[in-house]
């Protein structure tokens, strides 16, 4: 069995990837995907914790987190679709009617 710290280390790595992606990409879908990556990092953390403490909570939390992520994608895509149908774009830099 691998040491839980490796798992959570991978989680940190993933989280950073996600975070950097969020800041650098302008395409909303990719940003959404980056968020998913971050949530996966969370999952890894939970799993690592569950391993470490040998309790079941972490697994349950991970399962919930997957559900949350799924819901988020669903909601996000729906919103993005409605945006696209309005503006024909999903670039975050091009939607700035609301400002100041």
């Amino acid at each position: 069995m691998i040491d839980p710290s490796w798992i959570s280390g991978l989680g940190v790595f993933l989280f950073c990837i996600g975070l950097i992606g969020v800041f650098t990409r302008k395409n909303a879908i990719i940003v959404l995907m980056c968020v998913e990556i971050m949530l996966n990092a969370v999952n890894l953390n939970f799993v690592a914790g569950a391993y470490h403490y040998e309790n079941i909570d972490g697994w349950v939390f991970a399962a919930f987190a997957i559900a949350i992520a799924a819901a988020e994608v669903a909601v996000g895509l729906a919103i993005l679709l409605s945006l696209y149908s309005q503006r024909q774009t999903i670039s975050l830099d091009e939607v700035s009617l609301l400002k100041h």
Binding site: L19, V22, K26, L92, V95, S96, L98, K99, H100
Partner: protein
């Protein structure tokens, strides 16, 4: 116009009825002292009555002709006060009553003070009546003159169409003014003295500005009020100081024991007295606060007579006289002599300066105004001398000087009131005559013709016999022609001023010389005025049409002529001076009784003491004064301005001798002198007014403009700047909300880093 006016004696019936008022009071069981407050209350009550009824019914016939636009009401009220005053005086004289403090009529304000042992003690500022010989004298002067001037004003004011429908204002303010004067004289505390003093200031403002539509009158009123206000403020500060010392402002407390049980020293009182004296300087138009008085001649002539001769200007003198007991307190010896010297100096300087300016004045009322200043300054000098003598321990001389000064106040008031009324009569007639001669349509000329300018007059003696006689007598009294009016008092003042010098007050030398010189100058400018007006050939065609008219004007003139002519002599010989300064003294308690019993002895005694004092040096001074004032001054004036009347004109015997004299002494032309630098300076009143104006325009006005600017742009500007700044900040801060989600994320990320850093850093 005169020829149309019928005798209106019937209008006087209500006035005469009012004279019975004291009798009724007497019958009701009151004594005069209990009725004294009515002297103040009656005019106070009449004031709004005239004002409101007048404003409401000013067009009505009954108001206009039966009540003379309120004049009769005012006169009736003043008749009450005059008769009450006389009643009071009779009580005082006949029963040898020594009234002093008559207790409080009502408590004005009551409060607590913190005593030295940290407990609270109650203190009351109340109004009460104080009656003694000084206040009775001044009260009589005021009441008598107010009555007569009101009488005069009915004739003077109501016949002038320019005053139509607004005389009620005049009479109301007139009555209020009288109230102020009576109140000031009767008040039993410095506070109430000050209060009435200010009321007079207000009335003087209103009355000087009676012709408010004239910019010069409005400006003069303002100037008068503000100048006296300067003095008043210092007077107020003086009161505060007195209060701080005595914890009371009642005469009874302060004069009862000026040392307050030995706790107060003479030095403590120096500044309070100086402060209060500054108030007197303002009110009595002394240098350097004299600038308002000449301008005040913008008011109607009865006002000039009332305020600037008879009453208000005397207030300052009265206040200084009131403080005399402090000077004569034995334990203060020497401590207050510098203050006394200051009073004398101010008097000397003003006397000389005013006389000098009067040399070149051509406006008949201005001559009188400067003369007033000069004469009041005499009295100040006398009071200064009296105070000095009292403070240095020369009680006998002090009392004499004090009495003389107060006597001069009496004489001057009577004479000057009459002079002003006479000048009023002249102006009135000149004005009417001008209208008559040139018609009302002649607007342009109307504006250029000045009925007050003596250069338009001349030769009026034959046209106005009563006026010219009155004016002659008045002038004589002011000049100090022996045995007439002011002579008695002026000699005393000049003599005692020099006496101070002899007694060791070297500092008085300068004012003493000045008053001596002024005696001669008085002789000159008063005579000049008379000669320019009444003697010689007419200097304008208007004079042709001048004639005297209504009884309203003539009656007071005649009355006062008689008073001026004889009162000085009578009172002087009746030991008036002693009665004034100390009614309880041997001579003072025999006021008038000696005179009736042994007239010749009394006259001799007074002559001896008035202008032939014991000391030989003073004798020289006295004679010099007589010589200068009665001889030299009138002589030069006669040479310069005198002359015979036109052919066929005749003056009445009473004045014709003077005209003959003036015509016979030859003629000197002083045209060059009149255009010299000194004369110009004098015409410009020695540039004192200009200097004040310059100072104010260079200090106060810019300061106020700058302050207003600062307030608007700096103090309020800060607020506005904050407002603008926050709007600017708002715009800037909202620029950060760019509308781009990625920017938001970036901000949030930065924020996250900061949050982590802070949390990390704290541990």
């Amino acid at each position: 116009m005169g020829e149309h006016s019928k005798p209106e004696w019937n209008l006087l019936v209500p006035v005469l009825a009012m004279v019975s008022f004291p009798f009724i009071r007497h019958l009701l069981g009151y004594n005069p002292i209990d009725s004294a407050f009515l002297i103040v209350a009656v005019p106070l009550a009449i004031f709004p009555v005239i004002l409101i009824i007048g404003q409401q019914y000013k067009g009505e016939d009954w108001w206009k002709h039966q009540l003379k636009e309120g004049g009769i009401v005012a006169l009736a009220g003043l008749a009450i006060t005059l008769s009450l005053t006389i009643w009071l005086i009779i009580e005082f004289l006949v029963h040898h009553a020594h009234f002093g403090d008559q207790g409080a009529v009502f408590d004005w304000i009551t409060f607590d003070n913190i005593a030295s042992d940290n407990t609270l003690t109650e203190s009351v500022l109340s109004f009460g009546i104080w009656v003694d010989s000084i206040s009775l004298t001044v009260l009589f002067v005021a009441a008598f003159l107010c009555f007569l001037i009101c009488w005069f004003a009915i004739g003077y004011m109501t016949t002038d169409p320019i005053n139509e429908d607004r005389n009620h204002r005049f009479f109301a303010e007139f009555v209020l003014f009288s109230m102020g004067m009576f109140g000031m004289v009767l008040a039993d505390s410095f506070l109430w003295l000050f209060i009435f003093w200010e009321i007079m200031g207000l009335c003087s403002y209103l009355l000087i500005g009676f012709y408010w539509e004239k910019p010069s009158a409005a400006a003069a009123a303002k100037k008068a009020f503000l100048t006296t206000r300067v003095g008043d403020v210092f007077l107020m500060v003086g009161l505060f100081m007195l209060y701080d010392l005595y914890h009371s402002l009642d005469f009874a407390v302060i004069f009862g024991d000026p040392t307050l049980g030995g706790t107060i020293h003479g030095e403590d009182l120096q500044w309070p007295i100086i402060m209060m004296f500054i108030g007197c300087v303002g009110k009595s138009a002394q240098f350097p606060l004299h600038v308002w008085l000449p301008d005040a001649m913008e008011g109607p002539t009865p006002v000039s007579a009332l305020i600037h001769a008879a009453t208000m200007v005397n207030a300052g003198l009265y206040l200084v006289a009131r403080m005399f007991p402090i000077f004569s307190e034995a334990s203060f010896e020497g401590a207050l002599s510098d203050v006394a010297m200051l009073i004398a100096w101010i008097g000397g300087i003003t006397a000389f300066m005013a006389a000098l300016i009067a040399f070149v004045a051509n406006d008949i009322k201005r001559v009188l105004a400067y003369s007033t200043m000069s004469q009041l300054a005499y009295i100040f000098t006398g009071l200064g001398a009296a105070c000095w003598l009292a403070n240095e321990g020369y009680q006998k001389y002090a009392l004499f000087a004090f009495g003389a000064a107060m006597f001069h106040l009496f004489n001057h008031a009577m004479a000057k009131a009459m002079l002003f009324m006479s000048s009023g009569s002249v102006i009135h007639e000149m004005h009417h005559a001008h209208d008559h001669a040139h018609g009302d349509g002649d607007e342009g000329d109307h504006h250029h013709f000045d009925p007050q300018d003596m250069r338009n007059m001349g030769g009026l003696a034959s046209k106005m016999p009563v006026t010219s006689t009155a004016m002659m007598l008045g002038s004589m009294s002011i000049i100090g022609i022996p045995l007439i009016g002011g002579f008695w008092s002026k000699e005393g003042i000049v003599g005692q001023a020099w006496n101070v010098y002899l007694k060791g007050g070297e500092m008085i030398l300068f004012p003493a010389i000045l008053v001596l010189a002024t005696a001669g100058m008085t002789g000159f400018y008063m005579s000049r005025m008379w000669f320019m007006t009444f003697a010689g050939k007419p200097k304008s065609d208007v004079v042709e049409y001048v004639h005297e008219e209504t009884q309203w004007i003539k009656t007071p003139l005649v009355t006062l002529s008689i008073v001026t002519a004889f009162s000085g002599f009578l009172l002087a010989c009746g030991h008036f001076v002693y009665w004034l300064s100390d009614p309880a003294s041997e001579k003072g308690s025999h006021f008038m009784t000696d005179f009736f019993k042994h007239p010749f002895e009394a006259i001799l005694y007074e002559l001896e003491h008035a202008f032939l004092p014991e000391d030989n040096t003073l004798k020289i001074v006295g004679w010099t004064a007589i010589l200068l004032s009665a001889g030299l001054g009138p002589f030069i004036a006669a040479r310069m301005h005198g002359g015979h009347l036109s052919e066929g004109e005749r003056a009445v015997p009473l004045t014709s001798w003077l005209i003959r004299y003036s015509g016979s002494v030859g003629h000197t032309d002083v045209g060059e002198l009149a255009e010299g630098g000194l004369a110009t300076a004098l015409h410009n009143r020695l540039y004192i007014d200009d200097a004040y104006e310059w100072i104010i325009s260079k200090t106060l006005i810019p300061l106020s403009a700058i302050s207003a600017w600062i307030d608007k742009n700096l103090v309020d500007g800060v607020i506005k700047r904050i407002e603008c700044g926050s709007q600017w900040a708002s715009t800037q801060i909202r620029q950060l909300t760019t509308g781009k989600a990625s920017d938001y994320l970036l901000m949030a990320a930065l924020g996250t880093l900061v949050v982590i850093a802070i949390l990390w850093g704290v541990i």
